[in-house]
Amino acid sequence: MAIVTTSNKACSVNPLKMSQPIGGSFAFLGLRGAMPLLHGPQGCTSFGLTLFVRHFNEAVPMQTTAMSEVATVLGGHENLEQAILNLYNRVEPEIIGINSTGVTETNGDDVEAFIRLIRQKHPKLEKLPLVYVSTPDFKDAFQDGWGKTVARMIEVLVAPVDAARPRDTSRVNVLPGCHLTPGDLDELRTIFEDFGLKPSFLPDLAGSLDGHIPDEFTPTTIGGIGVDEIATMGQVAWTVAIGAQMRRAAEAMQVRTGTPFRLFDRLCGLIPNDEFIAFLSQISGRSVPWKYRRQRGQLADAMLDAHFHIGGRKLAIGAEPDLLFDLSSLLHEMGAKVSAAVTTTNSPVLQRVRTEDVLIGDLEDLEELARSRDCDLLMSHSHGRQAASRLNVPFFRVGFPMFDRLGAAHLTTAGYRGTRDLIFDIANLIITDRETNHGPTPDTWRSTCGGPQVHPPQVH
């Protein structure tokens, strides 16, 4: 059981953390025809937008209420009203997802009340769903913003259940954490469908940010789950939540509609996937398709082939709690030692990370720990690249943001197949490092503290 501590530095150096509001906007990006709107100064949106664009290499819709200093003094009602009306008239979104920021929270804007007033004044907005989530910058982190936002979507958008109607046993709600990529969601969708189940992903980033080419340029998201589909999610037999951050949303669904849920802490690794597949077999009443029996074998074989390389590695990992738990567990199970673990925010899974201590801190902390504990593999999002090059250890990029490599959206770690590929990628990185940096020389094993070297006399 890991001890969780918080860094007590006044100055965060090389932050690992990103802010809560953009985690919220990220969730709204998984809805069809959506326009995420940050209630705050324009910079809040601009920074988040740049981050998403660089990670996905996609045009990303995101707007701002453009709070100026004067507007902040006067309160944000008017700016919010203008923003909603402008978006309604100009881009015709199917939904506007609003997250608060540090400025409007410090100001104490009562946004729910603003929305009621705006709706009263403009009856034409009656049909336009507006979901508001409180996400101050100065509390919590990215994945918290995501979790809170999905929970709020459920509270606002899922229609009350008709108790007389039977639940649709062929459908499943899936609530994925923000550490899952569009590639992961596609993989999971296939798995659900192979069991004859029809999954509704909330949010569905695979529909909107998987990098497809639209026929026409749209100013809102170009795919994802529709508001109409979300409304029907209460009538479904099961909810599957992935990652502890989704517990809040799964519980919100249960409270609102009585839908039972099963939370999977992780879907990367052999045993977690065994549990997942067994669960699907159980709720679908179908036997496990041949394909997955075979994939399980492939994963087992990958573990056999890779354990030579991964076993014994001293791992330093910096990631948000659910991703940290996911990856550290897998590598622990592969024989690596999790020597340094740094995360962004508190979570119940942190105590269960297979290491001695988890620090809520920054990448400077991770770098220091990795150096003092002699780690030889570093994992984090792209910002860890500087630390890795200073430490001169192999660096595996994972999570968000990944702005200096391509294909971040399709990095797949879920399911037997995703785990198998991840294991190969990590093992190959280690092999490359060994070949490039650790080739043997005549002096590699020469003792430096032994006696003087004896040179035999030369014989002609």
């Binding site: 045009a59 920021t101 910058d137 100065f138």
Partner: protein, 547 residues
């Protein structure tokens, strides 16, 4: 020390700004405070602008005082290059918590400065104010003053919280901070008659180093570059330069003008993008230095160097001419930068069919007409949707723009090249312009475009099927007898088009002369029970005949 509102007013009233000068008195009074339209903006804030302008100072610790959003969401995202310290690439922020908001963040800020001093011992610390601490009244000027006295090192307040305005305003406020706290606080070891400042150049992708060897060859010393590959000490003694070149005029004109006013350093607005502009700039530098006392022979050497470099560059561009014949370019960028490369693009044989004039003044527009002819398509403020349509309709062969519009071009299967800050290639000076031509050629002639512009094979099936369905409708309408014999079923299938596609795709797969019914291939009957009865109506003649 002046208050922030006074500074902002002062910055807006910029006599050196052409745009400001062209305004009427009433307009000028309103300043550049363009009211931002909620729900309709996408630009950065003042803090963003200040950080962009100053972050290229390499040996300074840049400390952002605010909640995690301001720095955590934005650090490590610019491609400036450093020849020395990498301190500027590290990120420092107070990451204010709820407790700090309640009790004030000044103490935390002070402790942060202390930690940085102890751990990294930088030449100086720049402290950036952001919205939330500005709202709760954290006085960063006082904290910086106290910390500076205590730790014996410059701790400079950069007062540009995001909500005071745009990115551009932030650039200028950053300049004001330099003028107030840094410039003139140090002395160089020695001065020469060939010392210049370059203002508003950020050394993105190291592009300054495409030009620096030429200056070195002429014996011209960059005393201080604000701020690309800059060092704190150099800015502090930059007031000893003999002349200055202002590169990105919109960003730091206040710095250049006030340095002229205070220290008598003449400046000109120039650019190293494009051949002619590079030559003009070199000549201007030489002329100004000579006016300030440098030997006149500098001009001869400069002219000789220009002649040599121009010949080389034009010769290098020559080989692109046949490749670029009849190729059309759209330039979407912030006005100023585009002119300087227009000449080079035209010389290489490219036709400029449009350029953005969103940030250009009236004078700018006249110059564009002069350069590109009366027919030049000036794009005032085109929505992404319109640009996309324009590109899809193939009115151009390549688009050059900043990163924001890249996906508009790429998704239209249109070659695109980044010519703004985030790009990863350097395009400055005589070498840079040739590099730009190379990149354009690579983009234009990449084989992917041919493949990507081909529709997926099923698009063709879909079109054929639609045509057949329509033909069927007409046939029915024209033959009421046959229509009646079908018991009045004259509507097209009520299920969606994919149902009807079965027969059609079977034709496409097997060719039109089917020997036997396409039943096994279609499996369409399983999909739609309701429409089964009228299906025969929808089947193309070949199929009906086969049945």
């Amino acid at each position: 020390m002046t208050s922030l509102p006074t500074t902002i007013q002062d910055v807006f009233n910029e006599p050196g700004c052409a745009r400001n000068a062209s305004k009427s008195n009433v307009e000028r009074k309103n300043g550049c405070t363009k009211q931002l339209k909620p729900g309709g903006v996408a630009g950065g804030c003042a803090f963003d602008g200040a950080k962009v302008a100053l972050q290229p100072f390499t040996d300074v610790a840049h400390l952002v005082h605010g909640p995690i959003a301001c720095e955590g969401n934005s650090w490590d995202n610019r491609g400036s290059a450093s020849s020395g310290s990498d301190l500027w690439r590290r990120s420092f922020t107070t990451d204010m918590s709820e407790t700090d908001i309640v009790f004030g963040g000044e103490k935390r800020l002070y402790r942060a400065v202390k930690e940085i001093t102890e751990k990294y011992d930088p030449q100086a610390i720049f402290v950036y104010q952001t919205c939330v601490p500005a709202m709760i009244g954290d006085d960063i000027d006082m904290v910086c003053k106290a910390a500076s006295a205590k730790f014996g090192k410059p701790v400079i307040p950069i007062n540009a919280p995001g909500f005071v305005g745009s990115k551009n305003l932030g650039n200028k406020l950053a300049g004001e901070a330099l003028l107030e706290h840094v410039i003139g606080t140090g002395e160089p070891d020695y001065t020469t008659a060939y010392d210049i400042n370059i203002i508003g150049e950020y050394n993105l992708s190291g592009e300054l180093w495409q030009v620096k060897p030429l200056l070195d060859e002429l014996g011209i010393r960059i005393l201080s570059c604000i701020s690309g590959d800059g060092k704190y000490r150099e800015v502090a003694y930059s007031h000893r330069a003999k002349a200055a070149m202002m590169v990105c005029s919109k960003a730091m004109i206040n710095v250049a003008r006030k340095m002229r006013q205070r220290y008598g350093i003449p400046f000109f607005e120039g650019s190293f993008y494009g051949i002619e502009d590079s030559s003009d700039s070199l000549r201007q530098i030489a002329r100004m230095l000579i006016e300030r006392g440098a030997p006149a022979e500098l001009m001869e050497r400069t002219q000789a160097l220009i002649a040599r470099e121009e010949t080389k560059a034009w010769a290098a561009i020559e080989r692109f001419k046949p490749r670029f014949a009849a190729k059309r370019v759209v330039l979407i960028t912030g006005g100023v930068k585009s002119w300087s490369i227009v000449a080079a693009l035209q010389e290489a044989g490219l036709e400029i069919v449009g350029t953005s004039v969103k940030k250009s003044t009236k004078k700018d527009k006249e110059r564009i007409k002069e350069l590109m002819g009366q027919d030049a398509h000036m794009i005032e403020d085109m929505s992404p949707r319109e640009i996309y349509k324009m590109l899809k309709d193939a009115k151009a062969d390549i688009m050059l723009s900043g990163g924001k519009s890249q996906f508009v071009a790429l998704k239209a299967a249109m070659p695109w090249l980044d010519i703004n800050q985030e790009r990863c290639h350097a395009y400055m000076g005589y070498i840079g312009i040739v590099k730009l031509m190379e990149e354009i050629e690579k983009a234009l002639y990449n084989p992917i475009w041919d493949q990507l512009r081909q529709p997926a094979p099923w698009d063709e099936f879909d079109r054929k099927r639609q045509a057949t369905t329509v033909a069927q409708m007409y046939a029915q309408a024209a033959d009421p007898v046959r229509d009646a014999s079908k018991n009045g079923v004259n509507t097209i299938s009520s299920c969606n088009e994919s149902e009807a596609s079965g027969g059609e795709s079977a034709i496409a797969a097997h060719g039109p002369n089917l020997a036997k019914p396409a039943g096994p291939c279609t499996n369409s009957t399983a999909r739609c029970v309701a429409c089964k009865d009228i299906r025969s109506d929808l089947q193309p003649p070949a199929l009906q005949a086969a049945e």
